[in-house]
Structure formats: structure tokens, C-alpha cells
């Protein structure tokens, strides 16, 4: 199988280039991450992030044949050759397939992604009906891999101002939580032309999310709630 892998080592390379590797002997069911491990065995200078290898830690988001995804759950047999692997777009490249995610994490922190309750705490759990809890499905599962935000043109143009789909999904995760009491603060924080409203429903985010989540829908829900909140 032929692979073209994005290579860039700032200590050596003036500019990035694509390096070709050809490997055989894959097992059926092997994932792109298995191929990257094989390449790294031959060439230990290839750098990429990885950890759980099963799609729950969110380390190995990359751009695979032009589309963001997780290397560990992308089957090799689903990929057209040569397989082009690049870092996720829109963030500064540190090396090879590794990007600097500070901007992404900053936007995540900016939506204050923690449960906020102003009432005194009871000694037992807050009660939440199964139906109320169902509202969090499709939201809390986010693994912060960054595939969505780095597939979003609005985030590419304004990564410092637009919160981006991942952060906004988290914002909605708390707005939708029956236990949370910071609705007004959360909505106020998102006011203005950029933070929320730069989303133009291009829907790349939902298209690439490796967990099948739908940030566009969450953003739509925030917009609706904001309108209701205003009137």
C-alpha cells in the first residue's frame, strides 16, 4: 500500500514536504494507525500523537485523504491509494502530523465547560429524569480531538474569535443540562458577531465527527435559546 505522509521537522526542513512510503502485509481490519506504527518502526523520526488506539482519547485526529478523522478507527481498506495523511488543517504545525492545539483548547476553556449550580448543595445527587439526561446524549461524548473545529472554514478564518464547533458543542452540553444554572451567563458570553454567530451552518463539523456528534445542531439550539432569551 502506498502512503504519502506530511513531513516537517522545523530543526531540519525549510518547508514541509510529502514523503512516500510503501508497505505490504497488512491484516484485514488494520487501521491507519497500524500503518503509521509500521512506518515509525522503519523511520523513527515520524511524529504523531496517539494513545488509546480505540477512538476514545482523541489524540490522533489527522487529515486523511482530505478529510479529518481518527487514524485509530479509520480502516485501511476504506482508503484510496496513495493514502495522503496530513495534519488537521488550520492550526500551526509543530512537526510532521502534530499541530499546536493551544487555540483550540483556549476556545474550549472560554465557554466555561463545567457544571455551574448556584443553589446550596444537597447531600445526595441532584435528581435528573431519564428524559432530562437524554438531552446530554450526543453532547457529553465529545473527545476533544479537534476534527470538527479544524474542518470548519469559520474557525480557520477566525480561530481567535469564533469559539468553533467543539467549544460550542460543550457550551450547549451545559445549557442543555437540567442541573446547570448559568444559562444567562453562558448565553451572554456568546453574544456578538463572532463567538457563536460566525457559524454559517456549513456542517463540515458534523460530517467529520468521528463520534457521530452534531455540533451544527447544537449551535442551532444555542441560537434558538438566545433568541428566546432576548424576547
Amino acid at each position: 500500500m502506498r502512503f504519502l505522509i506530511h513531513r516537517y521537522n522545523p530543526e531540519i526542513d525549510k518547508k514541509p514536504h510529502m514523503q512516500e512510503y510503501t508497505l505490504d502485509g497488512f491484516h484485514s481490519g488494520d487501521m491507519l494507525l497500524d500503518a503509521l506504527f509500521r512506518i515509525k518502526e522503519e523511520d523513527d523520526s515520524l511524529s504523531f500523537r496517539r494513545s488509546c488506539g480505540e477512538g476514545v482519547c482523541g489524540s490522533d485526529a489527522m487529515n486523511i485523504n482530505g478529510r479529518n478523522g481518527l487514524a485509530c478507527i479509520t480502516p485501511l481498506k476504506s482508503l484510496k491509494e496513495p493514502v495522503e495523511v496530513r495534519p488537521v488543517p488550520g492550526l500551526p504545525i509543530v512537526r510532521d502530523l502534530v499541530v499546536d492545539m493551544r487555540q483550540f483548547y483556549h476556545q474550549y476553556r472560554s465557554v466555561k465547560p463545567w457544571l455551574t449550580v448556584h443553589d446550596p448543595e444537597p447531600e445526595t445527587e441532584y435528581l435528573q429524569t431519564p428524559e432530562q439526561r437524554d438531552q446530554l446524549d450526543g453532547l457529553y461524548e465529545c473527545i476533544l480531538c479537534g476534527a470538527c473545529s479544524t474542518a470548519c472554514p469559520s474557525f480557520w478564518w477566525n480561530p481567535d474569535k469564533f469559539r468553533g464547533p467543539a467549544a460550542l458543542l460543550q457550551s450547549w452540553r451545559f445549557l442543555a443540562d437540567s442541573r446547570d444554572q448559568a444559562t444567562a451567563e453562558r448565553l451572554e458570553e456568546l453574544e456578538g458577531a463572532y463567538r457563536l454567530f460566525r457559524c454559517h451552518s456549513i456542517m463540515n463539523c458534523m460530517d467529520v465527527c468521528p463520534k457521530g456528534l452534531n455540533p451544527t445542531k447544537a449551535i442551532g439550539n444555542i441560537k434558538k435559546m438566545m433568541l428566546k432569551h432576548l424576547v
Binding site: R95, W114, L115, E121, Y126, L127, L144, D177
Partner: protein, 589 residues
Amino acid sequence: MSALNIERRQFDTLVIGAGGGGLRAALQMAEAEANVAVVSKVFPTRSHTVAAQGGMNAALGNVMPDNWHWHMYDTVKGSDYLGDQDAIEYMCRAASHLVVELEHAGVPFSRLANGKIYQRAFGGQSRDFGGEQAARTCAAADRTGHAILHALYQQNIRAKTHFFDEYFAIDLLKDDDGYILGAVVLCIETGEPLIIEAKTTLLATGGVGQLFRTNTNARINTGDGIAMALRAGIPVQDMEFFQFHPTGIAGKGMLITEGVRGEGGYLTNKNGERFMERYAPHAKDLASRDVVSRAIAIEVREGRGCGLNADHVMLKLDHLGPDVIKKRLPGIRDMAMTFAHVDPIETAIPVFPTAHYTMGGIPANRYGQVVVPLAQSAEEPIPGLYAVGECACVSVHGANRLGGNSLLDIVVFGRAAGNHVIEYLKENRYHRPFNESMVEEAMKRIGHWQKTGDGESVDGLRDELQKAMEQYCGVFRTRDILSEGVEKVRGLVARTKDARLKDQSKVFNTARIEALELENLMGLGLATVECALAREESRGAHSRVDYPERDDEHWMKHSLYHTDGRIEYKPVRTKPMTVDSFPPKPRVY
């Protein structure tokens, strides 16, 4: 690079590792207004707590009557009487409060119709000291670890904990009086070392599942903190006890939660027989993990395995119906479809026992203090050093951990250690100077990998170690096989000294990190196989074919392995805090 040129930062307290244990401790300390640094080799939510599925035990009694004391009994029995009963009592008593705390922190637990936290049955659980099955495991679908880890990270952002993301810890700093005073770490992005001075250091670096070829663990689980402790002269405890989870996806290793069996799934062999009825007539598929793993291994060994190579068994859950599977087990359904190419709504999942959890680790007491045998006592605290979670050995899990007790362990002892650190800081207000030669030692470790020329590769040595551990130190063990294993691993340890890296660059050099991890794996692999050879009995996960019985008279004791290869032993703490001791009994499920 001389020690004087290395950048230095000072914090009240340093936490190494940002899984649930490290983050729970950091939160406790940050909320007490300590200045907390958390060092993690990955961004915190990539830590392996994220992969925990089934849930966290606490006798909330939301589904049926329950009692922390029954939980304690189950944990002591599950540990095959190697667990320390004071720590187990502490953990089980604290459990309900800590689940409520997590819920208040935002964890999206699944819910019962009355709005309370959903609880499911898990292995080794009983009511009334060995009676009927309990339902004690609090769950957020089958993504409980993810839900807990993210909530704890979120709360730490709120509390303004200072994170050093993608920094790799090299070694601990000490002074000549034995105080631990921080660590030398390496910024992965720049390749530059950094000295973090701290009045206390807490190790929360997780387990060492990467010792074995087929495992449920993340690639990052290389036992870094345990190996650092060993290099700092601290013996490691009970390393021979390594848990094999009964249901990893066959041939691949991804975890399929015990919650599947808790929800009513069961195992079958090639004849379609529900074979656990023969091994554990009462608890059946919800017997302890060591029992179920051995049963599967025996089924396969005796020719009743499934598949072309008769090398696995099947985990059947289609009878639970699509609603239960989609609602309660959505994550493992994804996992089965991605990696085993079956939809469990229709087809059983091929499974086999898979290396999962390090019961052993850094000896610690129930305050999270690292304790070592000194002249004064068998458990003398090392000033300024703490360990919690899978890297620690408190020991609440003894010879076999119960499912649902690891998420509990990390939050209970993360919090307890945080509280103890806060007290320690009141009495130790100022930074003590550390011994500068420690920095030179740590830099030598890095410098070693700057040697160029011919040498074996890190990947090749790691593969050989993982295969050796699987072959010589697996589910069933004998003296002959273990002796060969010791020789083999000793040889690998020696060869590691002559391994070489090709990539000598600094920026995000993951090959260098993997080399440092390999050194950690090698040290712990040797500790594991040496202790397994020494322990001439069968207890919990340590199953010696040549010594098939538990031997309480000679072996109801913890092993302590020193870096020079010496093994000593210390007694199990059989006296609980307030209740009567549970004396050893034959362990049947």
C-alpha cells in the same frame, strides 16, 4: 547541559499524571488554594481513565438495598485476602459521598426513573456478605471513565490548576534527608528539560499494561511513575498480580466492559454452552475477573474455543434487545462494530482474556503517602511523596481487583492524598534545597539516548518484551516457565542499554519518549516476572499450576521488589479501621 542552565519553576505541589487520580487530587489541593502544577505526557483528557467503561462502585442502594460493609466484604474476598482491610474499609465507606461529589461536579450519570443515579450489576458483587447479586456500579452508559475524566478536568480548569501538558517526567528530585522535592521533566514540544521544584510530589501515572502484547491499555500506559519510584530507591509492591480482563476483543485486546455481563450478557463456548455455570455455579458470568479469565483460558485449552483456530469464546448479548444495547452499552457496540466487525445487537462478540490492570505498584497508605520499610516500621512514609490510582498499591485490590473499584480507587485516594498534602504543606511551608546531583542523574538518562551508531531499535525490544511477558508470565504460570521468563527479561534489560535512536532531533521527538518509556517497561517487566517466580502459591490473578492452592500460612503477605532484585515481604493489614476483620475463607463464587 549543566543543571544550572536548566529552567526552574516552583510550585507548592506537583502532580505527575492527569488521569482521574491526579486530577481529583489536584482539584482538592487547588480548592484549598495550594499552587498546583500538573505534569502530563498527554493532554489530560487523553489519559487512560477516559477508556474506563462500566462504572464506579458505591453502595448508594438506588436499585436495591445495599451497604458499604457488604461492598467491603466483596472487595476483601475479591482481593483473595491480600487487600489491606483498613484501606478497603476507608474506600467503601467514602464511596457514596464521592459519587455524589462527582455528580455535583457535572458527571452525566445515567438515571433511574426516579431521577437518581443508575446502578448496574458487576462481577464479584453481593448483598449481605456473599448473598444474592448486588447492583452497585454507578454508570454513565458505558463511558463512565470518559464522563468522570472530562468532569474532573473541567473542574480543574475552573479551579485554575496549572497544567504542563505534554511534559514527560524523567526522575524525582530528593535531598539527602530523603525528602522528595519535585521532578525533572522534559517538554515534549521543545525537547528542553525543566526542573519543577515542589514541597510535595504526587505520582498518578497509571498502570503498566504495555508490558503485555495483547492488552486493553493505551500506548501511554508504560508505568512511568512506578519505574521512577523504583529508581528513587523505593521498592514496588505486589507486581506479580496483573489482572487479565476476561473480555478483550479476541486477538486485538480492546476492552468490552464487564457491564455487558452486568446487563445480562453471558459467555459461551463452541458448543454454545454457558460454561461459567460449571466454574461459578452461583455468580456464573459475574464471578470475579480472575475466575472468569481462567475459565475462558481452560475452555480454549481443552478444545472448546470458538472460531477457525478455536482460540476464543463468545460474549452473547443479542438477547438483551436493541434498546438496552443502544441505551446502556452504546460505546462497546461501536467498538465491536469497528474492531470485531460484528453488531452485538445481532451477533456475539469474540473475546479472550487480555492484560488489563496493574494491581501492584508503589506502596502507599490510605492517605496516599508512599511508605517503605525502614528501621522504625514496615511502612514508614517518605516525606513529600504520594502515589494514587493504578500506579499505587494501597492495597485495596490485593491479588485481584473487582470491576468498578478502579474508578472508585482513583477518586477516593486522589481526594485523600490531596487532603493529606494540604496538611503537610501547613507544616512544611518552605521549599527545601534538593540535591543537585539528582539533576545530573536525570540528564544522564536523557543523554544516554543521544549516543549514535548501531544498536537495536526501541520498537524491536518492546515487542520482544511484550511477547516474553505474555508467553512466560500470563494467566497460568509455573516455575519452569517463569524461570525462563526471568532469564529472557534480564537479557532484554541488558540489551536495552545498547539500543539506539536514529532520530536525534529535539522538537516533538516521540521516538525519544518511547525510548524512555521502554526503560520504564523493562524495569517493571523484570519486577513482575521475578515476583511471580518467587510467590509459590495461587492467589487471585497469580495462578501457579505447580502451586494450585492459596497458602495463607506462608504467603498472606505483600511482596516488595527492590531495584537491586532483592524481594522482601510485609504483612497484610488485616485489621480494618472500625469493623471486625474478614478472616480468609475458601473463595467460591
